[in-house]
Subunit: 351 residues, 2 copies
């Protein structure tokens, strides 16, 4: 059965040095995870920061100053008694009709020999720098493919929530490949090998006029341009994933199919984790899926936090047939849990 | 100045033979347009049909029967006094939480020697046949590139409104290339030549959480896989295009830049046409744009129809420096108008 680490939470905001003296880290969450050739577990986590000193009666949004070549973070400020100010939830507010985030995120590396105790880099690894990243970079997923690590991450700006791609050989030098999925799209997981000669991924568009937030498959010849989109699966009424679903960890190859941990939320915004098995030769075909959550918010650090009642994974590592799932808890901290692969497969219901 | 054809509307539902005896054509609209090598103007228009005999007190949605290999159109019926029935507007209704279209569209060719009097093919040219086209195929745009005609069209299903690609050499045999933009995305116009070695297009994603329906640019090496997405332009508050905008006709090369006719709607759903000039070497850079509409609904056939107060173009042809704009009027019929290219360029305001 699924066992949470006794060490949880494994990474908390207080463990992470802010990128600037006048900032504080408010959330350390949603990490891509990969095991390096030397056995090291590497997490690339999202670190959300905000200015330390916000005067009473003011709201602040940290964002890129696109007018400056050095793309420094600047602060948008407004009074909370302004008629044009509307607090939405802890994550964002609206001012003069525009939605802003209360924090800005960068990505940061943490490394561990045992997968539980992590050494966190003292400085950011990948920071917002483009117009499409004006409000920050979030929720990375790491796929190792043909000699490089490919990282999909959420690029947030006033024009929408999109998914961009970067790659690296060493997690020091990165190459950016631009936005690969236009708004609104996030939770992009690239499969770790070619399937039928092509690269594949799962992604999560959010339709407006018809349809609901669902998982889709897409195909590529170069990882940078995607096409041949197809619907994969959506939420199920009256279940834990009735509200919205999206990809979680990068799919893992098993004898029975590609296994992907995904997240689902109900209409009360309670985020759980489940799993889906897709066909080895056709990742657009669902074979089996969790009827009940694999994990639901339960521990105190999952129920209470920046945005409560959330477990959200963007990375998992398989070692000796045991799956270690790394996950953001209550949008505030990082935690881990292990579960034997056979238990996950056994929990799935054929569809 | 812009002059409507004296012949308007040039194509009406009554001119078009339905695809089945038990169907009637309700709308003939939104046509891709291209001038063939022999001078013929070819329109590929959207033809919307619905069952002829709908009993009083019933609503009907024609859609593909995905359970059958031959993918025939079947009819979903529900009583209009059903508590789970909600009429939305003439275009769709909601039943048991699912949105349905009141008609199903196919694409049909019409040809003309003078660009005004059209001969309409007696049978459909391109029909819905895939799961992503369950509710029909709509709003084609035609781009001639390297020996083939490339057609982007809207693929509508219960999973969303997406854009698919097909190609042909002769408008008889078509090859389908699948969904190139996942939901919600439509109004995709592919540029008629490579720019800096790559293919480019404008598209229109619809963000949900942050941002609004806006025009973006994307790039491709093969027309089937797209990436490097970037924001192009959005609606402007308190103008005719404040509500939503999207691409219209395929961009036309001029000395000053690529000229694209686009549509904008205000918050009362009044659809007008405007124009935008983008950089010859960078179609992601706006040079100038219509402050006032190039065309607003005015004629009776534009104001009254299936969905009134709409002029919507998906195709234009340039001949001897005169632009002929083909457009859907009030979502019911097809009309045309001419305007000297210099007048369009002169109307634009640098940004």
């Amino acid at each position: 059965m699924l066992e949470r680490f006794a060490e949880n939470p494994i990474i908390e905001p207080s463990h992470v040095a802010p990128s600037r003296e006048d900032f504080e880290v408010v959330c350390t969450l949603n990490a891509g995870a990969i095991q390096m050739p030397d056995g090291t577990v590497l997490l690339l986590m999202r670190v959300a920061e905000r200015p330390k000193d916000v005067r009473q009666g003011w709201a602040t949004a940290p964002l890129l100053d696109l007018t400056r070549d050095d793309r420094q973070i600047t602060l948008l400020r407004c009074r909370t008694d302004d008629a044009e100010y509307d607090p939405v939830d802890p994550r964002w507010f609206i001012y003069q009709g525009q939605k802003y985030l209360t924090s800005i995120s960068h990505l940061r590396v943490a490394r561990s020999q045992d997968g539980r105790r992590f050494q966190i880099d003292p400085t950011p690894t990948l920071v917002a720098e483009r117009a499409c990243e004006e409000f920050g970079v979030e929720d990375p997923r790491i796929t190792y493919l043909e000699g490089r690590y490919w990282i999909t991450y959420t690029a947030v700006s006033r024009h929408g929530i999109a998914t961009a791609l970067a790659s690296t050989e060493d997690f020091h030098e990165f190459q950016r490949h631009g936005v690969i999925f236009c708004p609104e799209n996030r939770d992009v997981t690239i499969f770790p090998e070619r399937i039928g000669g092509r690269y594949a991924c799962h992604h999560r568009p959010v339709p407006v006029n018809i349809g609901q937030a669902s998982m889709w498959v897409a195909w590529s010849d170069d990882l940078m341009h995607w096409g041949d989109h197809g619907y994969l699966m959506g939420g199920r009424p009256d279940t834990w994933d009735s509200g919205r679903i999206g990809g979680g960890a990068v799919p893992i190859k098993t004898e029975r199919g590609w296994l992907a941990v995904y997240h689902g939320a109900d209409h009360q915004n309670r985020y759980c984790l489940g799993a889906v098995l897709v066909d080895l030769d056709d990742p657009g075909r669902v074979l089996a899926r969790s009827r009940e959550p694999l994990m639901a918010p339960q521990a105190d650090y999952e129920v209470h936090g920046f945005f409560g009642n959330v477990v959200f994974s963007s990375g998992a590592v398989l070692t000796d047939d045991v799956l270690t799932i790394y996950y953001g808890a209550a949008d505030r901290c990082l935690a881990g849990a292990t579960v034997p692969l056979q238990d996950v497969l056994g929990q799935l219901e054929p569809v």
